[in-house]
Amino acid sequence: MNELEFINQWKLDKPIYEAWGNYVVNSICYELEKMGKNSDTFLKIPSKCRLKEDSSLVDKAFYRPGKQYSDPYNQIEDKVGARFVVLLLEDIKEICEIVKGNSEWTFDECKHFEDDKKRDPLLFTYQSVHYILRPKDNLITHGINVPATTACELQVRTLLQHAHAELTHDAIYKTKKTVRPEVHRTVAKSMALIETTDEFFTSVTKQLNYGPLQEYGVIERLDGLYLSLTGIKSHLQKSSIVIWDEYEQFIDDKLFDNIQILLTNPKYSYLPDTIKNRYPENVFYQQSTILFIYWMLIYRKRRLLENWPFQRELLEPLAVDLGMSTWTD
């Protein structure tokens, strides 16, 4: 296949590669949404597929020094590419799980920085996760027939890794000029620094997100209790997070059971109806945290009042529900 034939074939096939690239991106974004992640915030750069530039493709096929393709058209696997840029190393894993778990394509994990680290532990260089994805069977999407031989290269990396790639790919990797060794050294140092920073980011996020609330599964269990009592689904809002943070000292392995015992007391059998009736009135009636606040009003009133993080008017209706005096002096 000569250069002219190559170009003509590519022009014919572009819609197919574009369809497949879009399919891959949309499938992954769909799975992210199903996991409860907002693509707009979870992905730090909007994801979309991109067809390789004609000139770049021809250059790669016929003029890359040290690289000779026997069948360049089919051997070049990044004619269409997609890129997912996330914040944390942990987030990369989540996307990798989605990619590996999809039943509609085959994947070839042709590059993973963890494997690169094992192979060359002393080397700090470009890091990314690369997959080559092909339909398992011939696929029809948006009226276009995509053969099973169609390849899409997927790249997954953190924002920091992406910054490194952006800096170095064109300036060093593809440059015609020879790059001096000290530049390579400095670039390697920046990747070492990025790796360390990624670890710090992960550590910070874990510490921020894990505490007794997660350890004892309180929110999930109270959400379930709220739903079974009222028939309404509760919504966790920032005001609840503030409450749980302020009164963290009371979160232990008995808290949920104590709240449940309280609510099964016939004396308080009217509370589910009260919550339903007041649902539109006050932000707390819409959140299962109200059950915790009721418990504190009865058993930990002084601490509740002393540390109450919002204006008192928000708490008064809940105290009225229980007939509880809030004068303490």
Partner: protein, 365 residues
């Protein structure tokens, strides 16, 4: 306990006056219309009611003493069953009765709020009475056309969160009454609250209010409740995770609280606030006392059943050594301190007690 799930359905407000300079009664001003609070004002009203007589308040349960035809408890018993017209008319009798009870010129006038509703998981009825007092600076605001008390005036007196210038009584229908008994105590629980006087003098309420007006007195169960309070508190202190010095100090405080202090009402909350300095310990204590069945409101103090126990403080040691002393002497002259003793086989020090008695021995046997 008494204001769970409570709703207010009728509110009417009359106005009573201080006696004139010659000591003569002034006829109360009568309302003929119910007060209709908008939703947020009603929410404030319920908030003030629960602050005055709700759970954990300073309200004290009282017993109905006067049950004759013209006594207030009888009026309440009849009033609750009347239709709106009858309720509005008969409620004025309560205002007149309050005027009669205010027999001295030193007792201020104010508004009398009479309201009814339901509470509890069985929607039992209740009737509430609030006297909100007028002090200097307030103008009496009556609409000259209708002769009705202005709502703005009512809201200022009654709904402002910081205002506590009122006396409150609640008559709560008992869950299990059979409607046959002629004793009104079998049908009604009465809670009485007077924030000003309880704060200043430790009494349940002004005498004219609970006795001359309401026809109530201190309950006969006070001695039993006081004994229960004493025993539960003593047990709590004994089992606290604290040093022996601290326990000794708290037991002294308990004796002082019951034996020495002149307040005629006591409560778990009051004891906690006075003697337990840590907020979380206060919460733990009051939750514990609630779990033993003690009332969470104030109750009247009657040390009849524990008088002997309050006279002496005792300390017992495992080795059968005992120290006994009159309570007042113990508090002042006996110092107890835990110290580390001899090291035992496992390398831990034994737990010893150092006792200092600030007195001279007069006899040994």
């Amino acid at each position: 306990m008494h204001l769970l799930n409570f709703n207010v359905d009728r509110i009417i407000i009359h106005q009573v006056y201080r006696r004139d300079p010659d000591g003569n009664k002034i006829v109360p001003t009568q309302s003929h219309e119910f007060t209709n609070f908008e939703q947020s004002a009603m929410q404030e009203f319920k908030s003030r009611v629960k602050d005055a007589i709700g759970e954990g308040s300073k309200a004290v349960q009282m017993e109905i003493v006067n049950q004759e035809t013209n006594d207030l408890p009888t009026l309440v018993d009849q009033l609750i069953d009347k239709d709106n017209v009858g309720f509005a008319v008969s409620s004025y009798d309560i205002a007149k009765k309050l005027t009669e009870a205010q027999q001295t010129k030193s007792i201020p006038g104010g508004i009398v709020v009479i309201f009814s509703g339901t509470q509890g998981s069985h929607s039992k009825r209740f009737l509430g009475i609030i006297k909100a007092e007028v002090h200097s600076g307030y103008e009496k605001e009556i609409n000259p056309k209708t002769n009705e008390i202005s709502l703005k005036f009512v809201e200022e007196l009654l709904l402002t969160p910081g205002t506590r210038l009122y006396k409150t009584a609640g008559f709560f229908e008992k869950f299990d009454h059979n409607g046959i008994s002629e004793n009104l105590n079998d049908k009604w629980i009465v809670m009485v609250s007077d924030y000003q006087i309880s704060k200043a003098e430790g009494k349940a309420a002004a005498h004219y209010f609970y006795s001359d007006f309401l026809g109530c007195g201190y309950p006969e169960t006070s001695a039993r409740t006081t004994k229960q309070f004493y025993e539960s508190t003593r047990l709590f202190i004994s089992e606290m995770n604290a040093t022996e010095e601290r326990k000794s100090s708290l037991l002294n405080a308990l004796t002082t609280y019951l034996k020495v202090e002149t307040s005629s009402t006591i409560s778990s909350s009051d004891f906690a606030e006075k003697y337990l300095d840590d907020i979380d310990l206060q919460d733990t204590f009051t939750a514990y006392m609630k779990s033993t069945g003690l009332p969470d409101n104030a109750f009247t103090k009657d040390i009849e059943h524990i008088e002997k126990q309050l006279q002496f403080r005792k300390v017992n040691f495992r080795s059968n050594v005992k120290i006994t002393a009159p309570s007042d002497v113990f508090k002042d002259l006996v110092i107890i301190e835990s110290i580390d003793g001899d090291i035992d086989a496992s390398g831990s020090p034994a737990e010893w007690t150092k006792v200092i008695i600030k007195d001279r021995i007069i006899k040994q046997e």
